[in-house]
């Protein structure tokens, strides 16, 4: 499965990509919305993990743009802001499949990604 990780923290996305690769995912990463959209032009992804807060274009706007280009894509949001209760309610509002809190638990992330893809 191909996953695109987008977060302005390069250290975070690179490491996360490597960890997912170790778990058998084909993980790519981008550190900005522009870069992510560029990548999306040349290849297709099954699922995207987006940071909600990013400079210039935030995760929510990025998701809309990506969805326009690739309607079948699934989305998981990651945020450093808020408590778990908000994410459940918040996710439905932004139309994301899941909302996760930083710092991430890798097992939870993969579980949610699998779940989202099964839908």
């Amino acid at each position: 499965m191909k996953v695109l990780l987008v977060d302005d923290e390069k250290e975070l996305v690179t490491t996360l990509a490597e960890r997912l690769s170790l778990r058998g995912w084909e993980a790519q990463w981008a550190t900005s919305a522009e870069e992510a959209l560029d990548r999306l032009k040349s290849e297709a992804f099954d699922i995207a993990v987006l940071d909600v807060k990013m400079p210039r274009v935030d995760g929510l706007l990025l998701k809309k743009k990506m969805q326009a280009m690739c309607p079948a894509m699934k989305f998981i949001f990651v945020t450093g802001h808020g408590s778990s209760q908000d994410f459940q309610t918040g996710a439905s509002e932004v139309g994301a499949d899941y909302y996760l809190v930083k710092p991430l638990n890798i097992d939870t992330l993969t579980a949610k990604m699998n779940e989202a893809l099964r839908r």
């Binding site: 778990r23 908000d86 459940q88 996710a91 930083k102 710092p103």
Partner: protein, 579 residues
């Protein structure tokens, strides 16, 4: 002791305006000022009244004394001049030769005694001082008066009234003599003795107020009539005779420190001075009664005024004190809310800043673990894996803290919906059911019937009660009791009480439990954020939380929530479902 609450109050927070909150000084100023304003005119009027009354009474005493002396002087003058005129008349009516006949003189003396009284004898003295004819009880015929002062003085004035004296007869009497010039040259004197008893009677009949005394005295101070206090006729008067004055005078003197009012009059053509002496203290008795009344009235008035001034000042300053207290409490509340808000912003900032590096540590450590385990090089090295696990565990703990901090400061939209609070409570208790069972903690929910469904945020309510229940569980030993009560509070509010049988909270801690990072469970996994988050959540819902606790007995939290939501500018979502 009756000490008002403000007496020892010191407003340490008042700063440069400290003087405005010195209630003791305020009270003192109020008491002094009002007492001054009320008492000064009263005392002034009383003093004036006192003086005026005293002066009036003294003037009245002087006037009465003057009148008494004046009237008595007239009586005595009249008495003497009447007798003098009688002698004058006899002189003129009878020729010298006729008067020289003892029989005729006896008849005249009899007539005088009958007509006027007071005459004891009558004699005719020739120009050489020889009394050649005498009628009366004593044998005084042939007595020569030529060397006596009165006889010498008579040559000048023609009439003489002597002082009272004993004379040959050893009886107090006075002599009245009238000189008559003969047409053929030469002269003779008609001389009469007058019994002073008549005088004495006259003076005795005079009523003198103020334990007074009235008597005749010579200019040299020898009593001429008996006096009540100063002895008999011819005794020495212990008082000084006042200097000559033509008219009746009243003066004040002292005898053995006793103040006296003395009225006197010099009786013309006689050596006599009429004196009336009164004791001032006796005269002032009615005034003393008035004065006592005045002083009693003054005492009662002053006591009344002082009591009212003290009472009113205390009451008013107390009111100000209480108002100030309320103001300070309100300020504290606002200050506290502000502090919480600032802390919220601060903690949100900190949490957010920390979250990203924390996430990186998490992923890096995770990757290390992955590498160890997936590549099997170090998979068997339990120590290394243990170390990485410890890092991951700590990151997870830090993550929980930052999440809770963010929750505390959350500015995300809240969602208002219709919530049955009893249902929420049961729901939350559901999470804890297993733990309660395991620790044999009794859970009871006692809800009044007909608790209204409230307009609130379900998620927040859950968090609020979860926090409170968690705290209660942490405070209790196994076998404790957690009782939840729900009732209607005052208009449009419901109140939920959560009481545990736990260890309780000390007085000093009680003030700080809603502050962030205040925890008694440090080292046992407490973040010190639970209650401050709860506090913030309840405030956001328009409610309030209060706490009562007793060390060793337990703690009771009361949450008051509005039935109608007053969350402003927030999106209301009718349904509780979320996708």
């Amino acid at each position: 002791m009756l000490k008002p609450a403000f007496w020892d109050h010191e407003d340490v927070a008042a700063g440069p305006h400290k003087h405005l909150f010195n209630f003791r000084r305020m009270w003192k100023s109020a008491v002094i000022l009002t007492a001054l304003v009320a008492l000064a005119p009263l005392l002034f009027m009383a003093a004036i009244d006192y003086n005026v009354s005293q002066k009036a009474i003294e003037a009245d005493i002087h006037y009465q004394t003057a009148r008494l002396v004046s009237n008595t002087r007239r009586s005595i003058s009249f008495f003497l001049s009447e007798r003098k005129s009688a002698l004058d008349f006899i002189d003129k009516d009878n020729a010298y030769t006729v008067l020289s006949e003892p029989l005729r003189l006896t008849a005249l003396l009899d007539n005088l005694k009958k007509g006027f009284g007071g005459f004891t004898d009558l004699g005719v003295v020739d120009q050489n001082g020889l009394q050649h004819t005498y009628v009366g009880p004593y044998n005084l015929a042939g007595v020569n008066y030529s060397d006596q002062d009165w006889f010498q003085a008579l040559k000048e004035s023609g009439v003489h009234i002597s002082e009272v004296f004993l004379g040959f007869r050893q009886q107090p009497h006075l002599v009245m003599a009238v000189k008559h010039d003969l047409p053929e040259g030469g002269s003779y004197v008609l001389r009469a003795s007058i019994d002073t008893q008549k005088f004495n009677d006259l003076l005795r009949e005079v009523e003198v107020s103020g334990q007074g005394d009235i008597f005749l005295v010579t200019r040299e101070g020898v009593l001429q009539t008996p006096s009540r206090f100063f002895g008999n006729a011819l005794d020495r008067l212990p008082l000084e005779v006042p200097a000559f004055a033509e008219k009746t005078q009243v003066t004040e003197m002292h005898l053995l420190a006793e103040p006296l009012v003395v009225g006197y009059a010099y009786i013309q053509e006689t050596p006599f001075v009429l004196m009336a002496v009164k004791k001032k203290s006796a005269l002032m008795k009615p005034w003393n009664a008035t004065r006592r009344q005045l002083i009693a009235f003054l005492t009662v008035s002053i006591s009344g005024i002082v009591l009212v001034v003290l009472g009113v000042s205390t009451f008013l300053v107390n009111q100000i004190f209480e108002a100030d207290h309320k103001r300070v409490a309100a300020l504290h509340k606002v200050e506290y809310a502000n502090k919480m808000a600032s802390l919220g912003r601060l903690s949100a900032g900190v949490a957010h800043e920390i979250n990203n590096p924390l996430a990186i540590i998490n992923e890096k450590a995770g990757l290390i673990k992955d590498l160890f385990q997936l590549q099997r090089t170090y998979a068997e090295d339990t120590k290394l894996v243990g170390l990485v696990d410890a890092i991951l565990y700590s990151v997870e703990r830090c993550g929980k803290i930052t999440q809770r901090l963010l929750g505390f400061a959350r500015h995300l939209e809240s969602r208002t919906q219709m919530v049955d609070i009893v249902e929420v409570i049961h729901e939350v208790l559901g999470f804890l059911g297993k733990e309660a069972e395991y620790r044999s903690i009794t859970l009871t929910v006692d809800a009044e019937p007909a608790i209204p469904v409230i307009e609130s945020d379900r998620g927040r309510l859950q968090e609020i009660f979860l926090n409170l229940f968690n705290n209660a569980f942490a405070a209790m030993e196994d076998g404790g009791r957690l009782a939840i009560g729900v009732r209607r509070a005052e208009a449009d509010f419901i109140a939920a009480t959560v009481s545990d049988s736990g260890c309780g909270i000390s007085e000093s801690d009680l003030k700080r439990i809603f502050e962030p990072f205040f925890s008694t469970k440090t080292g046992k996994g407490g973040t010190g954020l639970g209650l401050s988050i709860t506090y913030g959540l309840i405030q956001e819902l328009g409610g309030s939380i209060s706490v009562r606790s007793q060390l060793g007995k337990g703690t009771e939290f009361t949450v008051r929530l509005p039935v109608k939501s007053n969350l402003s500018g927030e999106k209301k979502i009718e349904s509780a479902t979320c996708g």
